[in-house]
């Protein structure tokens, strides 16, 4: 096969490309330029968009004896990921930009371009596996539970699954990958992983958003609509946040209050007790199936739902209802905010995902009194 190896400059994609070469594919390395004004050197754990990262990817390609190109997706990235990130915050939601990047850039714009230029598949260094059952491709969790990245791949569609390769997806241990990189003489073997949002230079999301968004003061209210304080802009808050609320009067129960909901339309931030953060039901209109869709998704089925990259999956009942993919969890879950992606699993298989636009608290407002 003619394989485009997407190379971030990190160790995972380097070893993935090496294995694709070993497997006998005709491999070309491509680094995605995503930032218009990328820094020269990497600072700490941030992203993959510096010139150093590009040079690292180029060096790996040279050692693997494959050709290497940099493709500029910075315009698309800005429109589809960065601007989307800002708009989501503006709308009071908590987006996952890495997920958007996979959905719109890596497995969409890049894959489409690769196919148009004569490639058969795109290979990446993600930890997730593909399995074929009855001629259908399925995406599954990686056996390396700590590294499993099937969550951020939940946006892949059936068509996209046909053109992706995850050569290190079944690896159970990151140390093995680093060792393999070292054995192959790749200088990126000990390069630190990246965790933070690549386009926010110093990891200060709130500060970065503050520069992009207008300050629009508004009220902080409790779940029964009573004003308890005021704020300078809703983008300073995320659901689940406790610090920085500056509420003068203590709550009746004397316990700290948390951000429960953000309503940009009225510039209101709703706060309440920690217990109210527990969510029992969530749903979203924007959803995709990963691989073959269930035959009758309207009939409720047992599944698991995961709401963040490293969150524990939670048992739930899932269903398609009135054009919305939704789940009712068997136990209340924490850390859910609109804008996040909920990925639905059946066993280890990724079944689909939706962007959360509706949540129902497990605790009623009256109980706040």
């Amino acid at each position: 096969m003619k394989v485009l190896a997407a190379m971030s400059g990190g160790v995972d994609s380097a070893v993935a490309a090496a294995r694709a070469v070993d497997a006998g594919h005709e491999v070309v390395g491509v680094h995605l330029a995503l930032s218009r004004n990328s820094g020269t050197l990497r600072t700490g754990s941030r992203g993959c968009c510096t010139i150093e990262d590009s040079m690292d990817a180029q060096r790996v390609s040279a050692l693997l004896g494959i050709k290497y190109f940099v493709w500029d997706f910075s315009e698309r990235f800005k429109m589809e990921v960065v601007d989307d990130f800002i708009q989501e915050y503006e709308a009071g939601r908590t987006p996952n930009p890495c997920m958007r990047c996979n959905e719109r850039i890596k497995f969409a714009a890049l894959l489409e371009k690769a196919l148009a230029l004569g490639f058969d598949a795109v290979c990446t260094g993600h930890y997730a596996t593909l399995e074929e059952h009855d001629g259908n491709l399925e995406l599954h969790r990686s056996p390396a539970t700590a590294k499993d990245q099937s969550y951020v791949l939940g946006v892949l569609t059936t068509e996209q699954l046909k053109h992706v390769l995850f050569p290190i997806g079944a690896e159970s241990d990151k140390a093995t990958i680093r060792q393999e990189a070292a054995d192959r003489g790749l200088a990126v073997a000990q390069k630190p992983d990246s965790y933070d949002i690549c386009f926010i230079p110093d990891g200060d999301t709130q500060g970065w958003l503050g520069e992009k968004l207008q300050e629009e003061p508004g009220d902080i209210v409790d779940r029964n609509g009573r004003k308890v304080s005021s704020h300078t802009g809703t983008h300073n808050f995320t659901v689940g946040q406790r610090k920085g609320l500056h509420i003068e009067q203590p709550a009746k129960d004397g316990k700290p209050r948390y951000v429960l909901e953000i309503k940009p339309a009225t510039r209101t931030v709703v706060v309440g007790p920690q217990a109210a953060l527990a969510i029992k039901e969530l749903g979203g209109q924007r959803f995709t199936w990963c691989g073959v869709a269930p035959q009758n998704p309207e009939i409720p089925f047992e599944a698991e739902v995961q709401v963040r990259a490293h969150a524990e999956p939670v048992a739930c009942t899932a269903m398609l209802r009135d054009g919305e993919l939704m789940v009712i969890t068997h136990e209340p879950i924490l850390g859910v905010a609109p804008g996040q992606t909920a990925v639905i699993y059946v066993g280890t298989r990724v079944l689909g995902q939706f962007t959360i636009d509706r949540t129902v608290s497990a605790v009623s407002p009256e109980s706040d009194e």
Binding site: A33, S54, M55, Y68, F69, F73, K113, A116, L117
Partner: protein, 388 residues
């Protein structure tokens, strides 16, 4: 076999020059040493200076060897700017154009950012031709505040030939110093150190010499200070142990390429006209970027609507054809060309560019092979669209 049509990026060293360079590098001696081996090295360096001066019609003392075109540009711009503002702090305007190479734009923007320079970027038309009426008007109003004018002789992306003689004429009447980056002109059109010019940048690896050698030609009358101090070599304008073998190689390549310009200009123009015509025939939507503007015969730059340059580059490379998008590369990223944007083209147009630059040995059959791959490459690139 690989077809190399990116000679504007760098071109092959003349084999005879390379052979002599290898020999010369094994000769012991620092040109600044007093002993006989030092004097031999000095002899090598000064013979190079004389030969280059001969090609350029300048005084040998006007030749300042540098580590390349970029250093020459930095020395000229900063050296002239600092001298001018040192004498008169009000004289802090630099006049240039945004179609310049980054080796000129970046030092100017650096002076603007860190040294309080003011910059006037001249307009260019959609073919990339400088608005010299604007230059004349601007100088008429502001000449007492202008530290220097820096305008390139030939544009390295589009091949547009600027009327440097006219630039010098205009600026001289106001006693404003003129620097010209002649890196892309040298070896492609007749380049001499025009009377009235203050400084001119050259680079060896674009004319069949080695990489890492260049020169700034600085008029005897120039008021300029050094940028790199340390030993006062090169007329006190550039400190550092001199690279005699490199200078020698540069001068030899310069002599050879100047002769080529003289002898082969007509035949090279025929080849270029053929290329441009065939590209337009094969891809009617393609646009020859400089249009009717005067240009050098070794470079053709096109825009291909709906295609992105990096798709075409990749596809050509698959066919073993090496071409360029023409725009500046940082770590291999093909970006919308700042030159085309300055020419008023849209971001989209400035993304779908291709620069084909011919070398001294480029043959018609190589052009034909390029042309043979073009339709398929174009079709696939069009299909891949402007995703980038």
């Amino acid at each position: 076999m690989t077809i190399y049509l990116d000679h504007a990026a760098t071109t092959a060293i003349y084999p005879a020059v390379a052979a002599r360079l290898v020999e010369d590098m094994q000769k012991l001696g620092n040109p600044s040493s007093i002993h006989s081996l030092g004097q031999s090295a000095r002899g090598m360096l000064e013979s190079a200076r004389e030969d280059l001066a001969g090609v350029l019609g300048c005084d040998r003392n006007e030749v300042i060897f540098t580590s390349g075109g970029t250093e020459a540009d930095n020395l000229a711009i900063k050296g002239l700017y600092w001298k001018a503002t040192n004498v008169d702090p009000q004289r802090n305007i630099i006049v240039s154009a945004y179609t310049e190479h980054h080796a000129v734009i970046d030092p100017i923007e650096w002076l603007e950012k860190f040294q309080g320079a003011r910059v006037h970027w001249l307009g260019v038309d959609e073919r990339g031709v400088l608005d010299l009426a604007e230059l004349a008007n601007f100088l008429a109003e502001n000449s007492s505040q202008v530290a220097l004018v820096s305008l390139m002789w030939v544009n390295n992306e589009t091949g547009v030939l600027n009327d440097i003689e006219r630039v010098v004429q205009i600026a001289s009447s106001y006693q404003v110093p003129v620097h010209t980056d002649a890196v892309a002109a040298f070896g492609h059109t007749k380049v001499v150190f025009l009377p009235g010019l203050t400084a001119m940048s050259l680079s060896a690896h674009k004319v069949g010499g080695p990489v890492g050698v260049g020169a700034l030609i600085v008029s005897r009358a120039a008021k300029m200070i050094s940028v790199q101090q340390g030993g006062g070599q090169e007329r006190d304008l550039r400190g550092g142990t001199m690279n005699a073998p490199g200078a020698r190689a540069f001068a030899s390549a310069a002599v050879l390429s100047a002769a080529k310009v003289h002898d082969e200009a007509a035949s090279r123009q025929v080849l270029l006209d053929y290329l441009v015509e065939e590209v337009s025939k094969a891809i009617p939507s393609a646009r020859f970027s400089r249009g009717s503007a005067p240009g050098i015969p070794d470079l053709a730059h096109f825009t291909f609507p709906g295609c992105s340059g990096d798709s075409m580059l990749y596809l050509f490379d698959q066919q073993n054809v090496c071409v360029s998008t023409g725009s500046a590369c940082t770590a291999g990223v093909a970006r919308a060309s700042h030159v085309l944007l300055a020419m008023g083209r849209s971001e989209e147009e400035a993304t779908g560019t291709l620069r084909i630059s011919l070398g001294r040995d480029t043959t018609r059959s190589e052009i034909d092979e390029f042309l043979a791959t073009l339709p398929a490459v174009h079709a696939a690139a069009l299909k891949a669209g402007l995703t980038a």
